[in-house]
Assembly symmetry: C2
Homo-oligomer: 475 residues x 2
């Protein structure tokens, strides 16, 4: 009997792998260790819970522990894997009480995810200051934002939630003003959520436009969308400090002290790789665990997937680190098949991402930043166009901005973005497909995209952008 398939981490990647493995190799054992109590939660849904678009926290859970059990997966919560011995093919597992046991593995999947990087800011010691990267934080923010007389504890209908923390936050007076530190997509979504809850929100972003990886066109449109709803935005405004003793009182930014009752810090995340410290495993961009096209690390029989692992970028062909939900699910599922004996590639990433700010939708794919394109050996040329989302005469037509980036020499499409209020974000999938197919911009211009007045003009905004960029390439 071979040793079990051991999975570290019971979220998207880990449980996808365990589930797929169970289906493909029903006779073999799979053990999933999870250091906390939460499993299989929708990280991306947390802002919408805070906004109250989603009624109950339990709605954000894909799988309950009993459902995992029914799949024949041996899930062990409250068990932290603290060390890996790749030579002996064993992991050391620690319980909440500090007891340690050894567990042998046939194959090992490290799916430990990532955590919020609060940068220079200490949010732990300061009431009203938060990061948002787990469900307990989402529950705490929801409680803090509510007026103590008006807090609805029924929404947090999940046994795993940290009730002490929730109650402590619920008892505090509701904030009137909040600083969102960092205008990445978590920052933008939290800004909308807090604004929906009646808080006066100010977003502070370090660089020149919001949503840096989405490019200037998306960042500027989203800034306009936030401000139209009363959220103030300051760019080129790196926050220097959170100010306060017990509770947050202000932030310091660009020489100003801005009084606030709340701060949410969203300045980045970093991969949880400490488990592999000392094993000599290869790391890649962002400090994530470097993997090959089947999710294998440099250690034998050790795989990594999800927010702690790299993935191959479709444009550069090189490992990259872009922690996103589909990547985690897909890689987990592929590794589950591979370990079960049916090798499946984890798939490339194209860096496809989408974000919503009130009625505005933005999305990006590939390489948008000219410097990044040059670093990858391309000669980037780009164009941004504004075109109608529908036929000009059809009600609801909305201005849609499309940015395309291509390599001047080969015409190859390197990246793109779409932003607007009418079916804008979903249009990025067309560009993602074109990028993964190594299409050139002339090929994109000749795509037979759907034309129907309620959904798209004769020349879809993507075709308009390709046409204009081609003109520029030919000059």
């Amino acid at each position: 009997m071979t040793d079990p398939f051991v999975v570290v981490g019971a979220d998207a990647a880990g449980l996808s792998a365990a589930s797929k493995f169970r289906r493909e190799a029903p006779g073999r054992e799979v053990v999933v260790f999870e250091k906390g109590r939460w499993i299989s939660y929708a990280y991306c849904g947390m802002p919408y819970f805070i906004a109250r678009y989603v009624d109950r926290m339990s709605d954000l859970l894909s799988l309950s522990p009993s459902e995992v059990d029914e799949r024949g997966i041996d899930l062990r919560r409250g068990r932290e894997v603290v060390a890996v011995d790749p030579d002996a093919k064993r992991v050391t597992v620690e319980t909440a009480d500090g007891d340690r046991v050894e567990q042998a593995y046939g194959d090992l999947l490290v799916a430990t995810g990532a955590r919020a990087d609060s940068g220079p800011f200490d949010v732990r010691g300061l009431d009203g200051a938060f990061t948002l990267h787990d469900m307990d934080a989402a529950a705490a923010i929801d409680a803090y934002v509510a007026d103590p007389d008006d807090y609805d504890s029924d929404r947090v209908d999940v046994s795993a939630v940290d009730r002490d923390r929730v109650e402590r936050n619920a008892a505090m007076p509701a904030p009137e003003t909040a600083a969102v530190v960092g205008g990445g997509y978590v920052g933008v979504e939290v800004a909308e959520a807090l604004s929906e809850r009646g808080v006066d929100v100010r977003v502070f972003h370090r660089s020149g436009h919001l949503l840096s990886p989405f490019g200037e066109a998306v960042g500027n449109r989203v800034e306009t969308a936030l401000e139209a709803e009363g959220v103030s935005v300051r760019t080129d405004a790196p926050v220097e400090a959170l100010v306060g003793d017990e509770r947050i009182e202000a932030i310091d930014v660009g020489g100003d002290r801005v009084p606030v009752d709340m701060a949410v810090v969203g300045v980045g995340i970093r991969p949880n790789t400490e488990l592999l410290d000392g094993t000599g495993v290869d790391l890649g961009p962002g400090g994530a665990v470097r993997v090959d096209d089947h999710g294998r690390t440099s250690l034998p029989d050790v795989y990594a997937a999800g927010d702690c692992a790299t993935a191959r970028h479709a444009v550069t062909g090189e490992p990259d680190w872009m922690p996103l939900g589909l990547t985690a699910n897909r890689a987990g599922r592929a590794i589950g098949a591979t370990v079960a004996g049916d090798p499946a590639p984890v798939g490339d990433i194209a860096g496809t991402a989408a974000v919503k700010a009130f009625d505005t939708e933005g999305a990006r794919v590939g390489i948008l930043d000219p410097e990044a394109a040059e670093a990858a050996g391309f000669d980037p040329v780009s164009e941004t166009v504004t075109a109608g989302s529908r036929s000009g005469y059809y009600p609801g037509v909305a201005e849609t901005e499309v940015t395309l980036v291509a390599d001047r020499d080969t015409g190859r499409l390197l990246g793109g973005s779409v932003v607007g209020t009418d079916r804008a974000a979903i249009r990025i999938d067309t560009l993602a497909t074109a990028i993964e197919a190594d299409m050139t911009v002339p090929e994109v211009e000749r795509l037979d995209l759907a034309y129907a007045p309620p959904f798209s003009p004769v020349w879809d905004p993507i075709l308009v952008a390709a046409k204009v960029l081609n003109g520029k390439i030919e000059d």
Copy 2:
């Protein structure tokens, strides 16, 4: 001095060609002959004018004659080209008065479009019976549907309109019931439009589901959508006759006589190729003029584009006839460049089309019909899935049905459809791009499509469909 570039037909293909030619070859002459008075109108917008989603008929015109003039194009309306002499490189042009002149050409573009095929039905001699393939018909239907006391003639704010016909229809009593004969996309859109105008609409369709080229999944969902809004639908119901003396009184279908006050016949269109009769030009599928990848016919220096011409299908590589707006615009533009000395391919078609029925959106691409796939040498295997349009917890999530068809041997994606109420139609562009890139279904399954709870679940419905179809192919 070379003879001018002569274009026959002043709609999408013809005016796109003339405009591009003028920009690329400013010193050379281009003459456009148009037999009627209308130019550059949005055929696809006519149902929405009838529905009153579009206020004024002039909104449906892309270019006015004076704007064409300003582009330096010599537009001659009321001039019908009645013969082509490819050896002498001359066309014969007839005026409304019957005068004939000869016009030499350097290059000739035939962009004569298509016309409604009313099948066995004579709609001309019967008040209240219509086809819908030109603006005069749209204006007449709008007038007929209105109550005589309530007709708004200001909406028909276009000098080209046939005012006698409009006034005659406006004077007739408004219909209470209408039969739509043929449930293709014109039929479906007209059914919605008439229903929006308060008419009790019954759709009769020859075969087993509406929208035959869109496949069963789309056809059935659209039928449900129509019936939910009070439009009755009968499938497997070929209409045998329109009944009435001066005004329509009933239709005969399947042995029943169904009384109606109106009938709109949408049973097909056919290409206008009579101009080339006797020249020996090669024709292709549907009787359309066969062209190569630059839009050239079998006659020297004679091009054809738009609804009268074939185009190469991306899946089969063979000429096909699928008259659609983008195809016409794109081919016209490419031929304008080619004739100006900068050869440009007209591009393949993927058969991408979209349709709306109230809040339901459907779209199709490629080869969906198993018999057509077999005829093209494939071994088709298909799957239809139902999946959420957004994360399951996000408000507005809607059931989206995706059908994928693949070749069993190679896994190549041959066709697909999408139907639903939330951003369904635009998702077809992802499949169109995959088809034009010759992707396999495993490649589609690994596409890095956007995941964001308001727009798409972790596994987009397209990815779900690819996953399920792959499972079927592997079995």
